[in-house]
């Protein structure tokens, strides 16, 4: 950041607005993002001590919280903390599944919205997509529970049609959970893709069609490469948020299924062992970031393109 840039910045925004932007963005980044994360990392390396001993001789850095996640409590006969690691792995897989589900569902919608000429219809459609988000996330989760319940609309319908005789336990099968999570993040998947696809010149598609390209070819060679930044930012958001979701797994998850965030929540709230919870949270965060960066690299997407 050279002096010219700073001067230009103030010239463009005015002195008052310039300072406001710097202070507001600075506050947001430092106080609301960096400091909490740093203190969480700091916590994760500490012992769980009662308040009087904090700052005392026992308050030293330790790796035991991380050791616990991997090896379990001392004297664990398994050698590894199988329960927590299994939940961790299952959470990441489930988040990946939700992401792919949303991608498959949303790509055609985003393509339709982005390329359709009928402005009125498309706008109505977007509005229809937004309306459910006027309802609180937790209420929506409960609504899903009702819909997917034994005597919910879906079971009733299936039974009336005669496809099934007894209600399916969607909650136990985690179908309700995947549906709820997938539904919750649909917009986050659609909008980034829609934004990019909307700017794709329709003539490119027609040119490809003129040269005999099939629809699959057109999407594979023209639309998807073009939409890649949107696809990856949508996938990043959905993956991160699904892996970090708490309310939906809490409400819609089957009795046997636990989300990793629920374990973190238990450490913070029920066991009141913040350092242990912090270590779990740190591992989840770092793993998610590594996965996202790895996948981006695999598909050749630049970080800079994501903001587009």
């Amino acid at each position: 950041m050279d002096a010219g840039f700073i001067k230009e910045f103030f010239k463009r925004n005015g002195v008052g607005m310039g300072w406001f932007l710097i202070i507001a963005v600075g506050f947001w980044v430092v106080v609301l993002i960096i400091l909490p994360q740093i203190s969480m990392f700091d916590f994760s390396f500490r012992n769980d001590l009662p308040p009087p001993e904090i700052g005392g001789p026992k308050d030293v850095y330790t790796l035991k919280n991380y050791q616990y996640l991997i090896f379990g409590a001392d004297g664990n006969p398994d050698g590894y903390n199988k329960t927590d690691l299994a939940v961790f792995g299952k959470t990441l897989l489930a988040a990946a599944f939700v992401t792919i589900l949303d991608l498959v569902l949303c790509y055609p919608i985003a393509y339709y919205l982005g390329q359709s000429t009928g402005g009125g219809m498309a706008r109505l459609f977007v509005l229809l997509l937004i309306i459910p988000y006027w309802i609180n996330e937790i209420l929506r989760a409960f609504a899903f529970r009702i819909i997917f319940g034994d005597s919910g609309v879906i079971n009733e319908m299936l039974m009336v049609i005669g496809i099934i005789d007894n209600p399916i336990d969607f909650v136990r099968e985690n179908i309700a959970l995947y549906a709820g999570l997938g539904y919750a993040y649909i917009l986050l998947m659609i909008f980034p893709m829609y934004n990019v696809i909307e700017s794709l010149d329709r003539n490119q598609i027609e040119a490809a069609r003129d040269m005999g390209a099939s629809w699959i070819k057109i999407h594979r060679r023209i639309v998807i490469p073009y939409a890649k930044p949107g696809i990856s930012s949508g996938c990043t958001m959905v993956f991160m948020l699904s892996a970090g979701a708490l309310a939906a797994p809490q409400i819609l998850g089957g009795p046997s299924s636990l989300w990793f965030t629920q374990i973190i929540y238990q450490w913070f709230n029920q066991s009141v062992n913040w350092p242990q919870g912090s270590a779990f949270a740190a591992v989840l965060l770092v793993t998610c970031i590594i996965i996202v960066l790895g996948v981006m690299r695999l598909f050749n997407v630049n970080m800079g393109d994501i903001g587009k």
């Binding site: 010149d201 003539n203 490119q204 027609e206 040119a207 490809a208 069609r209 003129d210 040269m211 005999g212 390209a213 099939s214 070819k217 060679r221 023209i222 490469p225 073009y226």
Partner: protein, 370 residues
């Protein structure tokens, strides 16, 4: 090359809801011909091209390519390739991949595609630039890549939608001759769309002049310019001085038009209208600026106009003298620079002569608005 594949529009109507975009188009385009549609913005040129390429079906009438009715055939099933108004190169593919995309679609191997792309790159004088992205090329180079991409599909008919409109004047003029050159070399039919009359006249074997969905005239460039079929064509193509009046007397191929205040003027009747002008009809008479000359005679005549100079311009190869006729209407006279000073002062009265064969009498009609 062989004879080439012709294109016929038979009584083609294209409607969007109630709006008629193309009205009763009848066009015969010969194989191997460079054919242009010329008309102002929004007159339906692109619409016609889309009907030929198969992106839309005419509401009525038939499109024939090589004598075969194309109804029901999609763009990929027609032997046409369309070059879009904005080129529509694929920005994320390299130049050579762009050029060979039609082969990729047909399943050609990368080696074959590369080879053909390199041949075409040579043809458009862009050898060795195949590995660039389209964004790394200049406007004229992109233009040529779009042509190569279309030619790679080996179409029988190449459709070009104002492909030069995004280029600056110099490049546009250069590309005109280049396009014509390419067309001669590949020998296929070119259908070219433009609102630039210079482009249409210099490149085409035939030109169709369109006005709001109607084709007014189809002829070669010289006939369009010298022998316009309607007042619209006369005023749209090139510059023209117009005089309104009524037909006073008429012979087989000439008429005397009685104007309100400029007196009687004699003009040739354009070939399409001979026999159609009757005494008493509303008529228009057109004289090109370059068909006017300064008279040494000041007696009144039906090939002489009296006017007063408003201002003069010097443009190197010619002088443009702007005058006000007795009608109060502005006229323009262009005189070739032969070394004499023709910068006439404001207010000078001049008599202008013209040759009745170079003046055209037409039925009164809508003019092209400037």
């Amino acid at each position: 090359m062989s004879e080439g594949v012709g294109v016929d529009l038979e009584n083609v109507w294209i409607r969007f809801g109630d709006f008629v975009a193309v009205r009763e188009a009848n066009v015969q385009i010969n194989g191997g011909e460079f054919f242009s549609f010329l008309g102002p913005s929004g007159c339906g040129k692109t619409t016609i091209l889309r009907a030929v390429s198969g992106f839309l079906e005419p509401s009525d009438g038939n499109v024939l390519i090589g004598g075969n009715n194309m109804a029901g055939f999609g763009p990929n099933e027609r032997p046409t390739a369309l070059i879009f108004q904005n080129l529509a190169l694929f920005p994320l593919m390299k130049v050579w991949e762009n050029i060979a995309f039609s082969m990729e679609v047909r399943g050609a191997s990368a080696g074959e595609r590369r080879k053909r792309a390199d041949e075409l790159l040579d043809m458009i004088a862009l050898s060795g630039q195949g590995d660039k992205l389209p964004s790394e090329l200049s406007g004229g180079q992109k233009q040529r890549v779009a042509i190569a991409r279309a030619l790679c599909a080996e179409p029988d008919v190449l459709l070009l939608d104002e492909p030069l409109s995004a280029l600056d004047l110099k490049l546009r003029q250069h590309m005109r001759s280049e396009l014509r050159e390419i067309q001669k070399r590949v020998g296929i039919t070119f259908i070219y769309i433009t609102h630039d009359q210079g482009e249409a006249l210099t490149m085409s074997d035939s030109v169709a002049v369109m006005k709001a969905g109607i084709i007014d005239q189809i002829a070669d460039g010289k006939s369009i310019y010298d022998d316009p079929a309607t007042a619209f064509v006369a005023s749209f193509v090139g510059e023209n001085n117009v005089f309104r009046g009524k037909v006073k007397s008429v012979s087989k191929d000439s008429a005397i038009i009685e104007t309100n205040r400029t007196g009687n003027l004699r003009a040739r009747i354009s070939s399409d209208n001979q026999g159609k002008l009757k005494v008493g009809d509303d008529a228009m008479m057109f004289i090109r600026p370059e068909a006017l000359d300064i008279s040494t005679n000041d007696t009144s005549s039906d090939t002489r106009i009296k006017a007063r100079v408003t201002h003069s311009e010097f443009e190197g190869q010619s002088y443009h003298v702007f005058l006000e006729g007795t009608e109060g209407k502005e006229m323009k006279m262009s005189l070739i620079n032969r070394g004499e000073d023709r910068m006439y002062e404001r207010g000078k009265e001049l008599y202008l002569d013209f040759d009745a064969n170079q003046a055209v009498a037409l039925p009164a009609g809508e003019l092209a608005s400037e």
